[in-house]
């Protein structure tokens, strides 16, 4: 799986790493139980500070997308285990819906868009 890091973006790099790993899990590019690189290996590959990768991994761990254990390292969590919506995701969704409402989108249009995107994400 390839990550695309945009250093000109206002979104911090750790957030970009987190987002794209979540996207990878949703699209099936990263399957449950799949091993992720170590913090050092990913920092080396990306040419970023180890702290940046560590921060992204911590966020993913808090949100339940990945688990770390001493023997197998960092792996993608089983999808069934993450049924609860993280608080941050709920807030972001609320904000996105508000933006669409202000832009004049109807309930049906929003739901249709959501359905389309959900199908795309696999």
């Amino acid at each position: 799986m390839l990550l695309q890091l945009d250093f000109n973006s206002e979104r911090p790099i750790y957030q970009q790493i987190r987002d794209q790993i979540v996207l990878g899990i949703a699209q099936g590019s990263l399957s449950p139980g799949e091993k992720l690189p170590t913090v050092r290996a990913l920092a080396d590959e990306a040419g970023v500070n180890m702290m940046t990768v560590s921060k992204a991994y911590q966020l993913l761990k808090q949100e339940g997308y990945i688990t770390t254990d001493r023997r197998s390292g960092t792996v993608v969590s089983p999808r069934e285990g993450t049924q609860t919506v993280p608080e941050q995701t709920r807030k972001r969704l609320e904000l996105a819906l508000s933006e669409l409402r202000v832009a004049g989108w109807s309930r049906e249009q929003v739901l249709e868009l959501c359905e389309q995107l959900y199908e795309q994400e696999g």
Binding site: L2, Q4, D6, F7, P37, L42
Partner: protein, 450 residues
Amino acid sequence: MIVRLILWACGIIIIPLMFWQLNNETKFKKNIALGVTLPYVGRTHPQTVELLTKFRRTLRWTCLGLLVSVVVLVLLPMSTGLSLTIWLIWIDVAMVLPFIPYVKYHKKLKALKKEQGWYPEVPRTRVVNLTAAAQQEKHISPVQFLLPLAVSLVPLVWGIVQQDWLMTAMFLTGPVCVLLFWALYRWAMRRRAETVDENETLTQTLTRLRRRAWRRSWVWGSWFMAGVNLAMWLSLDQPVWGLLVMLALTVVFLVLAVGLEFHLRHQQERLTAQSGRDYYVDEDEKWIWGMFYYDPNDTHLVVNNRIGMNTTVNLAKKSGRIILGATAVMMLLLPLWGVWLMAEEQSPVTLTLTETTLEAKHGWDDYEISLEDVAQVQLLQEEPAGLRRIAGTAMDTVLKGRYQSNAYDKLTLCMDPRTGPWLLVTMENGTMYLVGDGSADVEKIYLQMQ
């Protein structure tokens, strides 16, 4: 003349090496030619083909011009010092000149890319291969480096046992280089994966091939250094044979290393021949003239070259600029070595006798012989037979430093070899000096010392 021929024979190798390397840059590898990344459609575009052909032609003429200059320069009569100065200037020119057409055509190809809009869909991002980063690195057994290290240590141990500290210092080079190569090999193994497009298998294969080539180059380099150390030690009494063995080792290593680089380039070309049709990686923005890496967002100082197995430095880092600047300055200052040699060549040997010492001087070197410790003085009308250098200078106008001869074994020399006689001074501790300034004063000094 023979020295000059050997010198130019060593220098002339640069021309085919530069030609093969730069000519090879016109073949698309990882979607890159002349340091410009193009999609599949751009590679076969008539304007691209035309630019690459023109570059190849200009490169051929440039290299041919350099070859002709060698023939002219080798025939010009001149002293060793002047010859070396011109040779060093020529080396600098030969290493820079072929890059002028490279940069010219790189810019033209880049302009064509801009004109045609040959850019990937997601530009200006850094591509990070998560899968490749997750793979375990395979390190080779330490034995591969320990064996050449052991071989290179043999002459060093001999030097220590003999308590010959000059030789010990000389033989230390081998083990130090092997250890350095080992460290560099480990360091290089942590570099980025070779991501060209979304094909994971291609990335894995390219990364594996590059790492294998890199590993081999350091292991072979270690054996080369061990071999050189061993050859120097075994040929202490036969310096000509030692030189020939070292030359043979250098040729073998050079052929292997160049072969390895070109084999890897060929593999990169073959494996990525069909790439660039959909998504492909384009990092041209980070490469100035296609050859200097500049990325302020990259924490790495040393990065992989995009083609072949070499590495380069990140010029966005201060240390990177210092390394590249220092290398450039060193290259530009190389001819000064020839100038220094010319000064050495012109400088006369002087011999002075005072109440307490006999002083032989040449340039910066001063050999003071205390008269109190002199056991015997002989006047030699002819040079000792089988005189060979261990460490020092040997020119038409001066011989100085540590030498060895058939009759007297180890000697310290400071003499003008053109005109005798010379003084052979034996000290009470057995040390021997052979001195003479090529004037008639040598005989007077001999009589005074008697």
